[in-house]
């Protein structure tokens, strides 16, 4: 298990991570969400032992990560920086991984290369951004480490390749029980294969839960009330939180945190003429949660 406890990381005067605490179960596919500059990449670099935290502790199976070669053997980090490995060909890159990761598996590499068919002797600097991503991901997967940290791994990939990479990751999780931690702005991808998600904002964790739990706890409600209502009118309703309320004519649209039962009960309490409860996509949840966290973002 990955344990991040009260970690603070500062860049100059700016807090990249602010007393952040997070736990990630072994073998899960963890989606790391957050706005730009939220601290996702910083967290991944801390987990891969590149950065050292200013305070707090980061352990994997209760062993500190930083400057611990034995533990770092189990972690492969794919950076968001596409300049990584650019001086190498795919073959050289494969040798590089093979040299430093004893768990490297040639068969895995070959099978993945068969799917993507990337040029082996061409320097990565001559690759497109998407191809570079694919190359690094297949090397990362071939390393067969217990932990795979991917920073914006889907960035620059076309839909077909995005699907292919996603499948590779899913296979790795299923076949080898790899713990994948992926940060991405593409919430659809996260939603499709992550079982747990965490949302970070301004260096703090907004939530970290299983995806089903996240999605089951926030809903969009379309309804109509006999009288005009505001957010404050629901203050006495138990177990729900109105994240958004907008009226257009007689129809009112709300985003509500809470179980469907509690929402229905609250709507009845306000004499709603009808009540349609629609599940939110992860992207919508992300936006509403971020808004709730004070992220200056207006949506209609």
């Amino acid at each position: 298990m990955i344990k991040i406890q009260n970690v603070t990381k500062k860049f100059g005067a700016q807090n990249a991570l602010d007393n952040l605490t997070l736990e990630i179960e072994k073998g899960c596919a963890y989606g790391l969400l957050g706005s730009n500059g939220a601290g996702k990449s910083t967290l991944l670099r801390l987990l891969s032992g590149i950065y050292i935290q200013d305070s707090g502790s980061i352990t994997i199976d209760d062993i500190p990560v930083y400057d611990n070669p034995a533990l770092k053997e189990k972690i492969f980090f794919v950076s968001d920086d596409t300049a990584q490995f650019t001086g190498m060909t795919l073959l050289q890159m494969k040798d590089f991984v093979k040299t430093f990761y004893k768990t490297y598996n040639e068969e895995v590499f070959n099978s993945l290369w068969e799917i993507l068919k990337l040029p082996l002797d061409k320097k990565l600097s001559d690759f497109s951004k998407g191809m570079r991503r694919q190359a690094v991901v297949i090397c990362g997967l071939s390393a067969c480490t217990e932990y795979l940290l991917l920073d914006e791994a889907f960035d620059g990939l076309d839909p077909a390749m995005r699907y292919a990479v996603k499948q590779m990751l899913i296979d790795a999780i299923i076949d080898r029980g790899v713990t994948v931690i992926i940060s991405s702005h593409n919430l659809k991808e996260i939603e499709e294969f992550c079982d747990t998600v965490g949302l970070i904002h301004e260096g703090k964790v907004i939530f970290s839960r299983e995806l089903d739990s996240v999605k089951g706890n926030i809903h969009k409600v379309q309804t109509s009330f006999p009288e005009e209502v505001s957010k404050e009118d629901f203050a006495d309703s138990d177990n729900i939180e109105i994240l958004s309320l907008k009226s257009s004519g007689s129809v009112t649209a709300l985003v509500v945190k809470g179980s469907t039962e509690d929402i229905e009960k609250a709507m009845e309490g306000k004499n709603a003429r009808f009540c349609d409860i629609i599940p939110l996509s992860l992207e919508e949840i992300f936006i509403y949660e971020m808004k709730g966290a004070g992220y200056n973002y207006e949506i209609d």
């Binding site: 950065y51 040299t99 430093f100």
Partner: protein, 714 residues
Amino acid sequence: MKLTDRYFSRYFFYKLFKHKVLLIVSLVANILALPMMAIITSSSVEGIYNILANLTEEAPLSFETRTALENLAGSAENAFVICIFVFAALTIISLAAPTVVMSYNSKRSDSDMYLSLPISTKGRFLADSLAGFVIAVLPLAINFLGGFIFIQKAAGISSEHYELFNTLITSDIGHICVCNAYDTFFFAATTGIITVTAVYFTSLFFTCCTGRRAESIIYSLATPLVALLTINNLVTLILNTTRGITSWPELENIPAHMPVFGTLFAGMGRFTKARTVSSEMVPEVLAFPVSVIISAIIICLLLLFAAYICTKKRKAENTGKPFAIELIYKVVMTLLVVCFVGLLVVSFRNNQSGLAVSILILFAIYMALQLFHYKSIKKIPMHLLHLVLTSAIAFGGFTLIGLSEGFGYGNYIPNIDAVQSVTVGESYTGFINRDGLIYTDKENIEMVSQLHKKCVDDNIETGHQFRITYKLKNGTVVSRSYIDAISVHVDLGKEIGNTLLSSPATIDQIFGGEISGVESSFVLKEDLTASGLSEEGTKELMEAIKLDSNAKNLTNGKVIGAAELFWSNEESFNNFMIDVTENCKNILSVLKNKENYVYARYNHFYASSEKAAEPDSICMFIENLTVDNSSTDKNFYIRNKDKENDKIKALFELMEFSSYMLSQPYHVAINASPISMYVSEENADEAERLIKEIEAEREKNGDKPDFTDCLLFG
């Protein structure tokens, strides 16, 4: 290495393989450089060929060998130009190697790639340092051996010759003597290896504390230069302001012990000098202090350690910033200001012109560097504050060093118990081309120390006339030089000086070694005898001086005469003058032995005429009469028969001897020959009156002694 660093060797070889192109370039540059350096050094240093040629008796040089050497000499100038470029390439490689091997310190993408690998910080640092070292420095060592073989083959020198020219490492003098083609090559290679190694480790350090390649390279070059200039300013200031110190070898040698530039400049300086000196001087000039090599090794190890500490302290997120360890930047900037202030202080002491321009240059360079570093004008007030404060502190420090004469070091007199030996310089003893007199006994050391103390107490100016050099038991050498110390402080100086110089320890040294060409002259006031001694007589006199010295008669009693001795030994031509007191029985016995008088035998002296060779001829003349600062060319001659003249007797009573060549506080009124006699200022008028009266009497009697009556000495 910890067990966890199982990837250390993999990582090391991976890095070597990754940077194989740089390694190959380095090897090729080295292969070009060192044999080239060998050719140049061995063939262009004047004297090497002569040294080889002069050894023909023991190991004859073949015609082919001579031809090969001549060809080498002919091609040296062309090779020299090429070598400069190759050597520059080597320096660039050693400068660049750390930044290339540790690219993760300057490139963010490489930082992600390498810092996430399963290798510890220490393992990564050591592997990279070693890989860079192998790329930049190891080829030098390989080619060092290659260069030996090359020069041997190229010059056609046989192994027998090599045996003759084998490198001589003399631990006694702490120098590696470079005295043949091989040693010259060794010298050049050592200078090259030190320079390249020092460049490498300097660059390694700055690669580990900076976050960009530009800064790493700029500061790797600039900082050693600034540090060297700062030390040089300090040394100059201390030498200029510390009384009693004209040279301070330990201090002056510090810059040569400061790689990169200090060692390089010192090496180049020696090499350049070696090209212009005579052949027999070449080995001496090219002597390379072992301490320079040791100092370079220590500095490189310190840089390696500092680089490691920086690696441990630096944070990955600082990759891409000018400095990952900001403290180092502040230290470098402070050093820069101190250096400039030092330059200003030193130039201000010598010449005030250009001071304003220097200050402006300092300001401009400082501000430009600060703006380049911070890329912001918001911090200008802070920079100005730092500049002003640092300048003020540095100025205060330099001024303090100046005013306190090197924190009182100028006034330092070693404790007698700590002194192993003391040497008193040549002007004091009156010897030419001698290193001075050495004393090891406590009594004499104490006397020298008293003289030294008097010089310090009375703020005697720095000069070259009176030099004292202490060798302490801990190996330290303390040397001081003063101007006219004894003449200014005759009260103390003459007494101690005479005691010191008439001690057996001094006399034994003065008359030590193989002597030849001995002769002497003397004057005895009691019977107005002035004459010379033959070689045999002078040797007797030397023995007599030793006996009277042992009996402590040289300084006891009234001075009634003086003797001056001349001789040669294996080192130089010497002269020595001594007071003769009424107690110097042995000396007087020799001087009064008429058989020894040179005019009786005049085999070493000569008479200017037959008349002068007669026993009754002129024995003395007084020359250059100087009264009231007006000098005449008139000479005053005194014959043996004049000894009964009361006025001449009275004149002699007024005259005093100037023994031991000590500068006396006398007003020089009359200088007598054959040995120096003086009349003090208070007796000058009386002496002049007497001379005028004697001359008047001679005029009246038609008695006009002249040069032809004179027996010439020496």
